[in-house]
Subunit: 158 residues, 2 copies
């Protein structure tokens, strides 16, 4: 349960595109330079974001990448799923059954229940955060995060 390099770099690229504005365009070499990641790797990450529909690319001279939608419409939960998959997917228990091919308690497994709870907690934060929220400075972001409400309207973080 670790953040992956793809998730970190991908989100940072997206934030940088957000700063560039809806019409601002950034090329791969520029992004590579700005984030300190190799051009080849930057290209791979931006491609993933394009396939996910979060950015659009313009080829040829004067080309580059731009946000595909307004920053407020880009939900971070979807971005994270694109970049690193979900924490717990239904297929997980199938693929981690060991030799028997399935958890020996699969019809009634408390562990599975815990994974789901963790997934819900993560989604709770990420599905309420948009790219626009990330375009603030760290202090503002910290304050914002504290206001994320629970399903019952109460605050999740103190």
């Amino acid at each position: 349960m670790k953040l992956s390099a793809n998730e970190e770099y991908g989100l940072r690229c997206l934030v940088r595109l957000g700063y560039a504005g809806e019409n601002g365009s950034i090329t791969i070499p520029e992004m590579s330079q700005a984030e300190g990641v190799s051009a080849a790797n930057t290209a791979k990450i931006l491609r993933a974001l394009r396939k996910g529909g979060f950015v659009k690319a313009a080829r040829g001279k004067e080309g580059g990448y731009t946000l595909a939608r307004p920053a407020g419409d880009i939900v971070i939960a979807e971005v994270m799923e694109c970049l690193g998959g979900r924490l717990f997917e239904s297929s997980f228990c199938d693929s981690h059954g060991g030799r028997t091919g399935i958890c020996t308690r699969s019809v009634d497994c408390s562990v599975r229940s815990l994974w789901r709870a963790v997934q819900v907690a993560v989604d709770h934060v990420l599905s309420k955060t948009t790219l626009r929220d990330l375009l603030q400075n760290e202090e503002e972001m910290n304050s914002w995060v504290r206001t994320i409400p629970g399903p019952n309207g109460m605050r999740l973080l103190q």
Copy 2:
């Protein structure tokens, strides 16, 4: 951001030891058989749990593994850290700076703030769950998870 095989198998081993009770002992071959994981791999996982202080091992004939403490004293957040590390550690930004060796916004980074928020959300669930909670059936576990309170005393999940 995915669950690792170590986390899945390790937690399942621990649950099985919990079912065996405080004095019940399970050998590597028994555990391997029960969970459908190879003996060599089971050994590796149980060794990690032993180093983490969650189980204790008895060598020699009539040996095996036992919980090191009562199930109610084994906090799942600690188990998960032992098996798979933390989602976001302070070292993460240092090791993912790319070529420059550090996030170019490191003095003021909204992304880092988001990671922290996700980590807090995960810890919120895992630090309130003990092995004892996992020794229930799935339905009971589901009900229990819904009662996890937020820091302000409100329910985290609906």
